[in-house]
């Protein structure tokens, strides 16, 4: 490994109170102007406008605090938790953390966007509807699907929509009574088991054979009870299932539908399409693959696409175009209905639109290729570290991420992926993601070096892992008590997490349980 110097880092630590404990009576962040008399005379008073039942009798017990101290409080918290764009977050595998261009933030904060109101008449919303309509076209081209809905608020939500579409489709055909099983695979995101279950299906999980989903296992269970398969590709192991078209054929032959969870699309966008693999439906995470910021750093959006055969069931409204004008089509009698308020998460839609427009078809394919190249370079570096390995399909290339194992390190030093995770945050980088549950790969960790990371970022990250693994052997006391440079040190006693009597997720619960 290259000789990289790890940065001296120390997180700032502020002994911050809870926001609910802050402020002084009478302090205000914003002084809201009184309503102009003329306006009041025309539309009525505020009290007139808000239905009596919705009016509070007593002001809510919110902290009374000025803008400056509110901002200071939250900035401090963000510094203590490494905030955004301050550390290399390669470690957050399966999350597709990439750098999202700031120019797109300017777009979503522009008045053209922030002043749009969903209750405006359709003819005054033509701009944003055009953007949604065009984005839908781009996603159709990238996936090969015939129609898209941009309504859902995230990937698991889109997966749930597929379960609902599947339900409605078979209900229409009078087959729902029999077709009540949805199949998924061991290394597909667990929401693909959870969401069909929520929609009332029984769930069957396929085993894997040497890291790949077991085709013979699938053949053994498809029947007239099969409603659908929910699968991803490449899976969280980073392995691309080359037999995917056979999987969809087996399910189709049994009369079922095929859904492609494309949360892991970063290494295949512009390269391989859901359509050609035989899928009837798929989704994309606009907040990951298409560079709208992910997770707590920005609200999510799952774009759900399907073939013509399922299009009638899409949630409403669908953006359509008729005689040069864009419309919100609510008149879809077979639709599964509304799944989210108004039109979905439009800032994420706008960012994805802007990103795709700036990248172009070639740029998107190049991004996928670089993400794979980055992953292979990281693999090259991590493979040199004693104690780290990754299971299955030896010699087969991985795509954009890999689920590694620290089992050997754990066996030899007593320190596994959790202890190393505690240490690497001392080097000014984000903690890493281990694995979805259950941990099929022992002592797992799953880095994903997306296309926006530089060679130096990858080297720095691998060096941090190498250093922590070295310490596990040479100075175990450093690992045992890590982290040392973080705002919060190692928490030894997690018993409160298992004790419902001590949970305090809300201020009200906190007061009840601790301020008696």
């Amino acid at each position: 490994m290259k000789n990289i110097k790890l940065k001296k880092y120390h997180a700032p630590k502020y002994d911050e109170p809870l926001i609910m404990e802050m402020g002084v009576k009478g302090q205000r962040g914003i002084m809201i102007p009184q309503v102009d008399k003329e306006i009041e005379n025309t539309v009525g008073t505020l009290e007139d406008l808000i239905p009596a039942k919705a009016q509070r009798k007593k002001a809510p017990a919110l902290p009374e605090i000025d803008q400056y101290h509110t901002l200071m409080h939250y900035l401090r918290l963000s510094q203590m938790t490494l905030g955004m764009e301050t550390g290399i977050d390669i470690g957050e595998g399966t999350c597709t953390m990439k750098y999202s261009p700031k120019v797109n933030e300017e777009l979503v904060r522009s008045p053209q966007m922030t002043d749009v109101h969903p209750l405006q008449p359709e003819k005054t919303l033509q701009g944003i509807l055009e953007i949604a309509y065009d984005l839908r076209n781009y996603l159709k081209a990238i996936s090969g699907m015939d129609e898209f809905s941009l309504q859902t608020g995230g990937g698991a939500h889109a997966t749930y929509i597929n379960a609902c579409v599947t339900r409605k489709y078979f209900q229409d055909r009078g087959e729902l009574g029999t077709r009540n099983e949805v199949i998924t695979t061991q290394f597909t995101h667990p929401c693909n088991a959870a969401t069909p279950s929520t929609a009332g299906f029984k769930v069957i999980i396929l085993p894997h054979k040497n890291g790949y989903p077991d085709l013979d296992g699938l053949k053994s269970i498809v029947s007239e009870r099969t409603a659908a398969i929910h699968m991803t590709n490449p899976e969280d192991t980073g392995l691309y299932n080359p037999l995917v078209a056979e999987f969809t054929k087996v399910v189709h032959d049994a009369g079922g539908l095929c859904f492609y969870d494309q949360a892991n699309a970063n290494g295949i966008m512009g390269v391989a399409r859901a359509r050609e693999a035989g899928f009837d439906a798929c989704h994309f995470n606009l907040h990951k693959t298409f560079s709208s910021p992910h997770g707590c750093e920005g609200p999510a959006a799952g774009a759900y696409g399907c073939t013509e055969a399922l299009a009638a069931y899409l949630p409403v409204p669908v953006v359509t175009r008729l005689s040069d004008a864009y419309h919100l089509d609510f008149d879809r009698p077979k639709s599964i209905g509304k799944v989210r308020s108004f039109f979905g998460n439009l800032p994420a839609v706008l960012r994805a639109y802007a990103w795709i427009r700036s990248m172009g078809p070639k740029g998107i394919k190049t991004a996928a290729e670089i993400s794979i190249l980055n992953n292979q370079y990281l693999e090259h570096l991590l493979s040199q570290i004693d104690g780290i390995s990754y299971p299955y399909a030896e010699g087969k290339p991985r795509f954009e991420q890999i689920r590694y194992s620290m089992e050997k390190l754990k066996e030899e030093t007593g320190f596994g992926s959790h202890e190393i995770q505690n240490r690497i945050v001392d080097f000014g980088i984000q903690s890493y993601w281990l694995s979805h549950h259950p941990y099929v790969v022992p002592e797992p960790f799953t880095p994903e070096p997306c296309e926006t990371y530089s060679k130096e970022d990858i080297e720095y990250w691998a060096t941090a892992i190498e250093q922590a693994c070295k310490e596990a052997r040479e100075t175990p006391e450093v690992i045992e008590s890590a982290p040392h440079n973080q705002a919060i040190h190692q928490i030894k006693d997690f018993s409160q997490a298992e004790d419902a009597d001590r949970w305090a997720i809300t201020w009200r619960a906190y007061k009840k349980k601790y301020k008696k």
Binding site: I205, P207, D216, G217, I221, G414, H418, S495, Q496, A497
Partner: protein, 376 residues
């Protein structure tokens, strides 16, 4: 406060294997093994584990039995054990293992570590039942019991995890199995299920052991039981086999169950308990028109679903009920403990075993099944 660890070494475990005797239980065999030049492997295995544990000796108080039953190994590895009890050097018997387990329990150990094989696990189980948390260091010839870690180092790691968070580490019940060594020597395998002991999870399925809220087996078992009960049909007789997962079904129905036996249910009521093969066949004869179903679980680590611990479900019983009427239930922990090895069947009827091969649905939660391979 230091964690009190008890250590028992069965000094003669593992002698038979290398001389091809399939076990070392019984005085005669033990003698035969010595004549054949057998060297006990359990001291060596114990030291492999203790060498790892010497790194945390300031955090533990090690209690053990004299001489070759633990004291020798501990001292060899640089530990300073507190030695209790007495033995006749070179002439220890299973009784010594039992006595040691009882004495260590009285000494108030938090965790009991023992080296040996299935026979040793049985002796420990006889002495302390499910009262103590245990970890087995594999040192015997034949290991069928799930109470043993995969290897001595892994056993030591489990002890370290236990010491790091005493009272908080997630536990599971694991089988104490033993085969009749006399029959094995005549090339017949018949493993019996003797009971269950509490052991820490060998592999973390999530961050749980550190981050709390570990989905323990009981939670999954409860979910599985709900599924089984939800899908129970009227007027069918369910033969419920041995195991803690199947017991959860009985517990949820609030019926008495035989942990190691076969019970029969009809309309969610117990109709007969602890049936042997003959009694099951008689039940078939009395109920010629009634459809039957079998509810079974898998043996941890080994993966046997028929032929170990449930021999009452003989080939004729399985054939009468029908392969399609077998309901297999198991927690995801148990499936993962097989390390991707298939479920096994060994009914004694090779033809039936062949028929049972292939893929099977395993109920792992409410409305949730895993598909898993079965091999003969």
């Amino acid at each position: 406060m230091k964690t009190k660890i008890g250590l028992i070494v069965n000094p003669v475990a593992g002698m038979g294997g290398r001389v091809g005797l399939k076990g070392s239980d019984g005085k005669k065999i033990h003698k035969m093994a010595l004549t054949l030049g057998a060297i006990p492997v359990s001291p060596e295995r114990t030291c492999e584990a203790l060498n790892v544990l010497s790194g945390i000796q300031n955090k533990i108080e090690l209690f053990t039995y004299p001489g070759e039953m633990g004291q020798d190994e501990a001292i060899l590895c640089g530990l300073s054990p507190i030695v209790i009890g007495s033995i006749r050097k070179g002439k220890t018997t299973p009784e010594d293992t039992k006595k040691a387990a009882r004495d260590l329990e009285k000494a108030g150990v938090d965790l009991l570590v023992f080296t040996g094989g299935d026979g040793t696990a049985r002796n420990v189980y006889d002495a302390v039942s499910e009262r103590l948390t245990v970890i087995g260091i594999p040192g015997g010839v034949k290991i069928h019991s799930g109470v043993y870690a995969a290897n001595p180092v892994k056993a030591a790691r489990l002890v370290m995890d236990f010491v790091a968070s005493p009272g908080k580490i997630a536990l599971q019940t694991a089988e104490v199995m033993d085969i009749d060594e006399e029959l094995v020597r005549h090339d017949k395998v018949s493993a019996k299920l003797y009971g269950y002991m509490k052991v820490p999870y060998e592999r973390g399925l999530n961050q749980s052991s550190k981050a709390g809220s570990n989905p323990r087996d009981e939670v999954f078992q409860d979910e599985i039981a709900s599924d089984v009960i939800h899908n129970m049909e009227p007027d069918i007789i369910y033969l419920v086999s041995a195991g803690t997962t199947t017991k959860a079904v009985m517990d949820k129905l609030k019926v008495e169950s035989t942990l190691l036996g076969i019970d029969a249910l009809k309309n969610k009521q117990l109709i007969s308990a602890n049936l042997n093969e003959l009694e099951i066949l008689e039940l078939f004869a009395r109920e010629p028109e009634t459809p039957f179903k079998i509810i079974i679980t898998a043996i941890g680590r080994q993966g046997f679903i028929f032929g170990r611990g449930n021999q009452q479900l003989s080939p004729s019983v399985i054939r009468r009920v029908g392969k399609e009427n077998v309901i297999l239930i198991a927690t995801i922990n148990k499936i993962l403990s097989l390390n991707e090895e298939p479920f096994l069947v060994d009914t004694g009827d090779p033809e039936l075993d062949k028929e049972l091969e292939g893929y099977i649905r395993v109920t792992t939660g409410f409305g949730k099944q895993h598909i898993y391979k079965v091999s003969a």
